[in-house]
Amino acid sequence: MSGPALVVHQFRFDQKAFWRNPASVFFTIAFPVILLLIFATVFGDQTVDVRGGVKTTVYYVPAIITLSVISATMQSLAMSLVIAREDGRLKRGRGTPMPPWVFIAGRVGNSIVVALMMLVLIAALGRLAYGVPVPWGRLPEIVLVLVMGAAAFCCIGIALTAAIPSQDAAAPIVNALLLPLYFLSGVFIPDDQLPSGVVHFADAFPIRHFFEAFFSAYVPADGGTSLEWGNIAVVAIWGVVGLLLAVRYFRWTPRGD
């Protein structure tokens, strides 16, 4: 098979394995849906003081899509690659004629496709359950920001595997990084209720910038741009740094091998 055909081949089997894995389906698909339902139920009739005041559900739909993208990419990749590495499955794959980049491309493709599915799922749920308008006119910008962010968080997730020593350590390490940043970056708690010091702290990390960029594409300010290039650039730089670290430190063999 040619390189691209081999990537599609790998992707097909990654998709099968993904949908049959209860943990990946729960955390990547069901968990964001549950979060949206909870936030909308608890804070549904309030308004958030951004963009001159928007309904809470209008705020949470892009917030939860942001979380879904990070979950489908960084979180899912870091955990599944560490498990496959410690199982010896990555090492076995390296013993075949398959070029290593094909394997990575299949996994990244799987993550980005799931992220796009989550965009559709959460946007549809927001529209049907809470009347949050789907911004059809800005679909190209929305997909552009989402795919760029998804690619960057894939690189970060792959780089992160080098810092995770075992299968058991994967979930705690990934969650210890992500959960506080979801809170501090305005994904769980609207910005208007966060002290400015917290937001400044969160500005050092890519989640805040990805959320800002995605929120601007989904709910732009009046007369404002839907492409916040400053935020997009910060996410891209994190992605490139992740890519360089991944190229340098990613390992195919189990720890202690």
């Binding site: 081949h9 199982d87 010896g88 499955r89 090492k91 076995r92 013993g95 004629p97």
Partner: protein, 303 residues
């Protein structure tokens, strides 16, 4: 004779200050099953992973299928199959899917159904890997290593941790591969496995080959003393045995073992003596040293 499939000269490899492989020479010919036998930590996996291209080396020459495993390409990988010492399967893919995934990596794979039959998993084609027994998972491992139709197959401790029936099934699978004309390089720490499967065996201890040969003549087995053992009836002490047995009495009490270089003469003298006295020698047997005896004596001499 054509060029060997594997040729190793003066191979050395150290980890930090531990010398895992200390000057190994090996040749493996096309179509033979070669067993690399040794205790845990002897350097078997290090050596095999150098041949597979997973590890570098400190010194020596290694040629596998005409190439140095440190500088190989996709074409070389098409020609080898690898079963790692420990590798789990994707738990969410079925037997057929696991093989189909790997078949896609090769330019001319074996037919999937035929490969399933070859490793004896016909009834399990639709079963997910996570539902297979340990022995079945190992056979799927072998199937995935065979799916590219390799000329050379590496099996690193293929039956470690198996119960006797799973081991016997794995042996049948491996023995069947010989009929396909594959060259097989097998590592094991089970003597019976080497004896059952291999055409030739090398015993490795502390990173060095201490013996090599066919399982039959390994360690000069034919010229080692045989053991004649039996039990004496009540009231007959070992001291009553005739001097002309010409053998050393090893055992004591009722069970007696005689170590002898001339088992035929010893047996003649012993049975003559017993018939004269109308004694029955229960449990009488003559035993040549097994591969296990040779292996144990070789590996213990080194300690």
């Amino acid at each position: 004779m054509s060029d060997p499939v594997i040729s190793i000269r003066g191979l050395r490899k150290s980890y930090d200050d531990i010398e895992a492989v200390r000057g190994i020479d090996l040749d493996v010919q096309a179509g033979e099953v070669f067993a690399f036998l040794g205790p845990n930590g002897a350097g078997k996996t290090t050596t095999v992973e150098i041949m597979e291209g997973y590890r570098g080396r400190d010194a020596g020459e290694v040629t596998v299928l005409g190439e140095d495993p440190q500088h190989t390409d996709r074409a070389w990988r098409e020609r080898i199959g690898i079963v790692l010492q420990s590798c789990r399967l994707d738990p969410y893919l079925t037997v057929r899917e696991s093989l189909a995934l790997y078949a896609g990596y090769y330019s001319a794979p074996r037919p999937i159904e035929e490969t399933i039959a070859l490793v004896g998993l016909e009834g399990k084609a639709e079963a997910r890997a996570s539902s297979l027994s340990g022995g079945q998972q190992r056979r799927l491992d072998v199937g995935m290593a065979l799916i590219g139709d390799p000329e050379l197959l590496f099996l690193d401790e293929p039956t470690t941790g198996f119960d006797p029936s799973a081991r016997r099934q794995a042996w049948e699978t491996i023995a069947g591969l010989r009929d396909l004309g594959k060259t097989i390089f097998l590592t094991t720490h089970y003597m019976d496995e080497a004896q059952r499967l291999a055409d030739r065996v090398a015993i490795i201890v502390h990173g060095e080959v201490v013996a090599r040969g066919t399982p039959e003549d390994l360690g000069d087995r034919d010229n080692r003393p045989a053991t004649v053992s039996f039990r004496l009836p009540d009231g007959v002490a070992p001291g009553a045995l005739p001097v002309e047995l010409g053998a050393a009495v090893v055992g004591d009490g009722l069970g007696v073992s005689l170590s002898t270089a001339t088992p035929v003469a010893t047996l003649n003298a012993l049975t003559g003596w017993a018939i004269e006295r109308s004694l029955d020698l229960e449990g009488l047997e003559v035993r040549r040293p097994s591969l296990e005896d040779v292996y144990l004596s070789l590996t213990s001499e080194d300690v």
